[in-house]
Symmetry: C2
């Protein structure tokens, strides 16, 4: 893997906030696609409402207006403020559950001729409605026919669900509703049907039983999903006590479907790796990388809003080179690339254990 020398490609200072009371603190975890001959990114932009001695919680209210709830750590003792990403309940029976996020994310389109220098659209794609009042995050883009399907994490006080929106021009976006109920994240759509059905990978976040594993589902219409199966467990890839989740939408290669995914250990240090699934069986892993593809090592990956994170939602294939756009430390957007032949050459046959 080669990191691009201009990394990080995009930083919070490159964007204007979506609202006068907000500050951009992150541009990361972007969906990526080739559109009209350009590299188009759908950026996740995180904003906070920092105030002196107080924590400003930005929320989208039910009239789709930004409101800011103020919490004072010196007075509001019912919350735990130790994780930079959220405020948690302290009450024993709430068991560390998240009360609010400290940032509100929206999406923003960026375009580039060379895949490195981006022009960012001014118009934000803001959270909307009951299931997005804590924000919209981590978009993945899959083109099927003329339509681009964007699956994203829709976060609200009701839970972390997955929703879909569609566009044909990246100017007008149509909401298509919640496709997977809480708690779920990291959904990618395959660009073609397999055995007559659309296929998605998703990552449930169960409360009591089971690990943070990659599941698949199939669908006739991209709206309704069924036949859920657990296809890869964190343990299978050595992320013991940790988590894995799909990253970029799968790419068809000579070996099978290529999946760039993320793994994190129990201390929430994220890295990227890859596996291959069979052309005709999306539940069958045939090859994998023994060593991670990318680990946090560069300064912008090691330190940020949340440290030790490399996290990809989108990959672009051009001239047989895989361009991996990835969020670094939940703060900036970076690029790494590797020839497809090298990536496939490192793949080992995968053998199921258990």
């Amino acid at each position: 893997m080669n990191r691009h020398p201009l990394n990080p490609l995009l930083s919070p200072a490159d964007l204007s906030p979506s609202h006068p009371e907000l500050t951009v603190i992150g541009v990361f975890n972007a969906g990526a696609v080739i559109f009209q001959g350009q590299v188009l990114l759908l950026l996740r932009v995180a904003e906070t409402a920092l105030k002196d001695h107080q924590i400003g919680i930005p929320l989208m209210n039910r009239h789709n207006e930004i409101t800011i709830k103020l919490l004072n750590p010196k007075e509001d003792h019912e919350f735990d403020y130790s994780d930079s990403r959220f405020v948690a309940y302290k009450k024993a029976n709430q068991n560390g559950r998240v009360a609010y996020l400290t940032s509100l994310s929206h999406l923003r389109v960026a375009r580039s001729d060379d895949g490195v220098h981006f022009t960012i659209d001014e118009t934000p794609i803001l959270p909307e409605g009951l299931y997005e009042n804590f924000g919209i995050e981590d978009p993945r883009i899959t083109q099927i026919g003329d339509t681009f399907h964007i699956v994203y994490t829709s976060v609200s006080s009701r839970g972390v669900s997955v929703s879909r929106m569609t566009t044909q021009d990246f100017i007008h976006f149509e909401r298509q509703g919640v496709i997977l109920p809480p708690e779920n994240k990291d959904v990618v759509l395959f660009p073609e049907k397999i055995n007559g059905r659309y296929v998605a990978y998703h990552r449930p976040v169960p409360f009591g039983i089971g690990g943070l594993n990659i599941w698949s589902a199939t669908s006739d219409n991209l709206t309704d999903w069924g036949h859920h199966q657990c296809i890869a467990r964190a343990d299978d890839f050595g992320y013991l006590n940790g988590r894995i989740g799909a990253g970029a939408p799968p790419i068809k290669t000579s070996l099978g479907w290529l999946h760039i995914f993320h793994g994190a250990d129990a201390k929430h240090r994220y890295e990227l790796s890859a596996f291959i699934t069979d052309f005709n069986d999306h539940t069958l892993i045939t090859h994998f990388l023994k060593h991670p593809l990318l680990k946090p090592e560069a300064p912008y990956e090691l330190t940020g809003f949340f440290d030790h994170v490399v996290f990809s939602c989108g990959v672009v294939l051009k001239d047989d080179i895989v361009y991996i756009y990835y969020g670094a430390a939940d703060s900036t957007l970076a690029l790494a690339h590797i020839p497809m032949a090298d990536l496939l050459g490192d793949m080992l046959p995968y053998e199921y254990i258990d």
Copy 2:
């Protein structure tokens, strides 16, 4: 509500175990339906493998055979044994997650002419395959045309998911796969389409954000589900810091669709209550009961495998009387009844609060 004087109707002693090494410790949470003029119950039967000084964990292996894993609380210190229902990990980064259930549940058919005296089929419906190795629980039965759809909790080391099986004769059952991924429970199907789509209620169990609330989903084929919406929150019904979940499949009444549901407080004390939804909008609650329908008060409800529980998966309507079959203290099956006119007469108009 009138409890039946012969309560509990069924107790563990009424059943033979499904395997020589197992002991029946619970018969409870039964689906209920009128079939061939009889009341047919689909019982949840829980079995343990108690051993001297050890805990025997019954599991269904991948060859669909019962195996027993032995744990010794005096030696196996990595687990927490304080909850009678499960063994939990102690490791900090596993945060009390469930390692094993202490019992394995299967389903069993029982039939009755009078709805009170039951004959129990000898043949158990056993857990099967990867998603059921910890058991199958809490079946709900909905008749659509000639087919009875049984939605049930399929519990495995991969998580707590919801699956569907179908039958036309309650002798042959066909598995239809996982319809909702982890963590989810308490699914009921409406017996007719609303606005051209099948409708289900379900109860996600999110890890980090959101309460234990009732959601709805819709489907064209009962296999694939989408358009998830949160329709009732525990807070809305006063179960603050607690949980609610659908109970019996909805019944059409003069006021709208009647839902018998359960609520539990932060100390896991379960009770039954009811609300009504609009004929044509399954997300619109129109009426509710101000006071619970049934609270644990009888000795068999107060004490058992898990204390202070009344929990219903099935209701039968006969001569305008609502017969509520319910599990008591996760141990026995009981019956309570109320004239439909009285139940509807107690309903108050429901007003949404923000």
